[in-house]
Assembly symmetry: C2
Homo-oligomer: 668 residues x 2
């Protein structure tokens, strides 16, 4: 079938994101699927503009050579974001619609909750967007809803089990968990065998268990004070930040304090993002730890008997969703793990599929959340380690505005107009600030990948500023540094970037790719390596809580996992106020937690907000539907955003970024 990329009808000044998105006519997704070589039985349509891609595609193409694998990351951003998502989309539009390469953007599904708060939509921006934007932002193909359902089924299982264990004898629990059939026989369900194996009881006939074994089998003895599994909702509901559950008449003896997180912060989201197949997902979901028993043993989803059911709830979510850019290039949207307590990268499975479909001469561009010190490091050390895939090249997105801030420019505050240091030429501030960029370039080179700097253009940037930026980037070791204007020009504005990426991929030998640290270091050694090598810290200071947790996880055998640092993205250090390249600091580790199913240990540097709130005038005041046409009105027209964020073009795709990290005034 013939295929033609739709032409953009560029308008100046650039209209609002929603105006651009809603005036675009998307291609039937069937056409895109055919164009990229998917077979009919490899896709499931979800409406006319979305389709889920079956994992059988990977098998069919197992002998094909992978495409070039490019990760988009950034400097430490201002709170306004520097445009990583927009660059990811623009670069793919350039590679595909302008340079005729097979190009795939692999991006995260945005959290729906913040859409109605202050965030507005997240689908790139300007003439580099994913469409239809309301289908991208709302429900999509239900993956996050599936995560909410699975996460909360596990929550219900935990509290209910504690109640049941407290009100029943061993014999009663045994009778109910493993009941007699009519003929008096008993049988374990397969998931029970998993628990027996874990307990070291190598029996499959229930009648042969001793009383002591029965007791160990039926009693998980979860410590209610130490449960680490929270309920989740994809809603900006600050009243769920601290709650007490179990205050009903029959449950009140077991009431306990807990909280909800936003759904994308669920470990199940991280599992979805990091698993490499259906069976891998099944195993990861089963070994998720919900907390310790009173004896300090980790209690898992499979111990609770629910790992299989969680997988069933997630069986459609494991398939990435195919959508398209404004220029008709393919986008795989899949997973969107929280960028602070998780690793903030889209899924391995989407990348696997895209790499096979792209083939030897094609390009897969995937985005890593937050700055390069967090997102890219986690991309390499967690995501690539889990997949075994080797990236060719990293694109590091910067803006002259943000670099000036790193050079000592006045504070950039959401809600106040930008200082003129940012709008007038200022080579001094810029030169100083480029140190932040140079640090990231050097960091990225440590992983053995090519590095291209993409400078998102603002109309106020001067030629001299641009030249300085290019020169110093090259000096720091970048393969190249280029200006881009895909926000205003679509793919056409990123052709130079696309060519630079092509060259960097050619110049780079994939086999040079390496991780920052080996897994067999101790937890502390791994944390110290990241802190010193990537953040530039002098050392690490562990709190007593952190020390205790490290001891616990080591004792439990979880010390060979990679490290997922939960740190601010606004600075290389732990202090968001420290711009540029901070030195002479010690990284404080407040606490250490574990996502065993996802497969990482996450040290907390500072406190994290894991469920956002709503402002006095949330976005939803502007959102409605035209009941005659069915069209959505106002999805990103958000007055609050407009006031808070004067420069909206670089709206950031990091879940929890605007809503999570920044301290909002009390009326938020």
């Amino acid at each position: 079938m013939s295929f033609e990329y739709p032409k953009l009808n560029l308008v100046k000044p650039v209209p609002s994101d929603i105006d651009i998105a809603s005036s675009a006519v998307p291609l039937p997704i069937k056409k895109i699927a055919e164009h990229i070589g998917l077979l009919e039985d490899e896709i499931d349509f979800y409406g006319k503009y979305k389709a889920k891609v079956n994992l059988s595609t990977i098998d069919r193409l197992k002998d094909a050579e992978n495409g070039n694998y490019v990760v988009v990351t950034g400097i430490n951003p201002t709170p306004l974001g520097e445009g990583k998502s927009t660059t990811t989309i623009g670069l793919c539009q350039a590679l595909g619609a302008h340079l005729n390469k097979k190009s795939f953007a692999c991006i995260r599904q945005p959290s729906q909750g913040p859409t109605f708060g202050i965030k507005g939509g997240a689908a790139g921006g300007g003439y580099s967007q994913v469409i239809p934007m309301e289908e991208f932002n709302l429900h999509m193909t239900g993956d996050i809803h599936a995560i909410t359902a699975a996460n909360n089924l596990l929550s219900a299982a935990i509290d209910t089990r504690i109640l049941h264990e407290s009100t029943q004898t061993d014999a009663q629990l045994w009778k109910r968990l493993c009941p007699e059939a009519k003929d008096g026989s008993r049988k374990f369900s397969p998931i029970m065998i998993r628990r027996l194996v874990k307990l070291g009881i190598n029996k499959t006939d229930p009648n042969t268990l001793t009383e002591e074994e029965i007791s160990r089998f039926v009693r998980l003895d979860i410590d209610p004070e130490l449960i680490t599994w929270n309920r989740v909702l994809d809603t900006n509901d600050r009243f769920l930040r601290g709650i007490t559950v179990g205050q009903g008449k029959e449950e009140q003896r077991f009431a306990r304090k807990t909280n909800f997180d936003i759904s994308v912060a669920s470990e199940i989201m991280a599992v979805l993002a990091l698993c490499t197949s259906l069976s891998d997902m099944r195993e990861r979901l089963g070994r998720m730890v919900v907390g310790p028993s009173r004896a300090g043993e980790p209690v898992t989803a499979d111990d609770l008997g629910v790992g299989g059911a969680l997988t069933v709830l997630m069986k459609d979510a494991i398939m990435p969703t195919l959508m398209q850019t404004l220029e008709g290039t393919p986008v795989l949207v899949h997973a969107g793990p929280f960028a602070n307590i998780a690793h903030g990268n889209s899924s391995i499975i989407a990348d696997q599929i895209a790499l096979k479909l792209a083939g030897k001469d094609g390009y897969v561009v995937t985005e890593a959340g937050f700055g390069a010190d967090i997102g890219a490091e986690k991309f390499f050390d967690i995501k690539c380690r889990s997949s075994g895939l080797k990236p060719n090249c990293a694109v590091i997105v910067a803006t002259i505005r943000a670099l000036k801030m790193h050079g000592g420019g006045p504070k950039v505050v959401a809600g106040t107009p930008l200082d003129k240091a940012y709008t007038n030429e200022n080579l001094e501030l810029l030169e100083k600030g480029i140190e932040n960029l140079s640090h990231h370039i050097k960091n990225l080179k440590k992983f053995g990948v090519g590095v291209v700097v993409a400078v998102n253009k603002f109309s106020t940037d001067s030629d001299k500023e641009v030249q300085l930026l290019v020169d110093l980037s090259m000096k720091a070791g970048a393969n190249s540094a280029v200006m881009c204007d895909h926000w205003a020009e679509g793919g056409n504005g990123a052709i130079e970037l696309a060519k630079a990426v092509e060259n960097a991929c050619k110049e780079t030998n994939k086999d040079n790719f390496k991780y920052l640290y080996p897994l067999d270091l101790s937890i502390k050694e791994k944390i110290e390596t990241i802190a010193k090598e990537i953040y530039g810290a002098d050392g690490v200071e562990f709190s007593a809580d952190a020390e205790a947790k490290i001891q616990l996880y080591t004792k439990q055998g979880f010390d060979k996992l990679p490290i997922c640092m939960a740190k601010t993205h606004l600075s290389l250090s732990h202090d968001p106020e420290k711009k540029g390249v901070p030195t002479g600091f010690t990284l404080p580790i407040r606490d250490v937690r574990a996502s065993i199913g996802a497969g990482f240990i996450y040290p907390l540097v500072g406190t994290m907000q894991t469920i956002p709130g709503l402002p006095t005038r949330p976005c939803f005041y502007e959102i409605d539907i035209d009941t005659n046409t069915g069209k959505v009105i106002g999805l990103t027209y958000c007055l609050v955003i407009k006031i808070l964020v004067k420069v909206t073009r670089n709206k950031n795709n990091d879940v929890g970024n605007i809503n999570g990290y920044i301290d909002f005034p009390s009326w938020f």
Copy 2:
């Protein structure tokens, strides 16, 4: 395109539901859609076996004559259920695949939560099922997830608004709700105009509001003690039955007790089921009342500025989902409002679409939850009144087992074997018990519709018993009474029933259809009419709470709404122990509540459980996925069900039925 109904390969003894369902090969839903006359742009595929049907179908066919409209209801059931869903499906298989009529089953989407508890799947049973059953039971096309999201966005808006109003002056609220643009101008968003109109402030220019008007505009002044809007989750989580929210550091001054309900109990589900178009849904969602202000004024979703956003979240959910029966006849699955505190009927929109597609000679069979005293009465007085559609005929499902129970047979308890009174011939018990059936037949005749009795066959039923049942049904005024065996035989087992329904439709003049009561009676008069005319009560007793609420709702102008009784389905009276036709009782109304958006007042007769729990060994122990084939294992193989419910063939589709009403022992 040629179309052939798939032939059933009947096996004896009848295998388990899941074995039948998973050995069936469903037709591509595209084929079914074409067969029933849907155009390509009227459907959105969701995978290969589900499609959403666009409401434009109704417009296209607006001049077509409606099909025959049949409601399936039942006697007061035993806790085991009597097979309404299975009969609905079996009847449609008979009408479509055997009698070559255009036939549509319109059924409710089951709640997902209970699937993992003790309920197992709900898609009919035996050889009368909807397939694929796991797609029917899990996620489907995301409608319930959309309801969860919309419901909880409104919840977040309520609590956050209370916090914001308590921490800001009028001037601060005004500045934020209606902020100045750069040029100093202010503008109301359209949803704010709705609030102004409600307040009687006929102004559209913010600058002309007086201080007093600004104060009324910005302060909803919701009474935190009287909020009636709960959060929801589609999870069997008993620990959410009583909770305290707002215990985070910044919210703790506003902490309050509340609870979660199961998602299908959300008023938004009732709105979805009762709306007749997109614009109707928009208006209903906007006027949902979340509680009174301190001055006693109803506060709505539109007052909170969120009615439009709720509609946007629900814009796909408004489209019914097309699926198929085992014999390839079409099924529209849409909405599943809780059968106790809501009206328990599938959607009006699905019925509208099906009636147009069926056309003059076709049949639309829709199921009403619970017994005929609740489900059918609500179908006529609430659903048909809202749609303006006139039904032709009611099918009342009975089993000889249940009638014997009504005749004084030993108590039927989930979990204990059936007494021999139920398995041996016993004409005396049966004759006495048929009084319950006769009462329902007479009730249904009051609405002016044809009545067909469908007797679900058990192998233990004797010929004499059957004959007695047929004779007495006819004496009570039924158009006919027939035995059916669609559970074991598929559509072929319901041919006689299908013919009886055809005849009843022919014999009935639709124009004779009438409601039980006019809307302009007072709330008390309407309740009394239902209690006396349908339940056979001597009168009604209102608690002080109920009296106060009736006064409040009357004052608020909500007294012209229909009544949605929340009563046990296990008896015609309010006492589940009273079988047969109880007399000499006064119906106690404990409390009265209102669903203003859905459009009904619901008096509570007794207490309702609105979120189920999990048993010691939930179904999920058996549920897993075969990671090689991707097939779901054990979705309805539920040991607990097997033990509790010896006769599984009549598993009931009423959400909250097994899980909600029955008092389970403490280990549940």
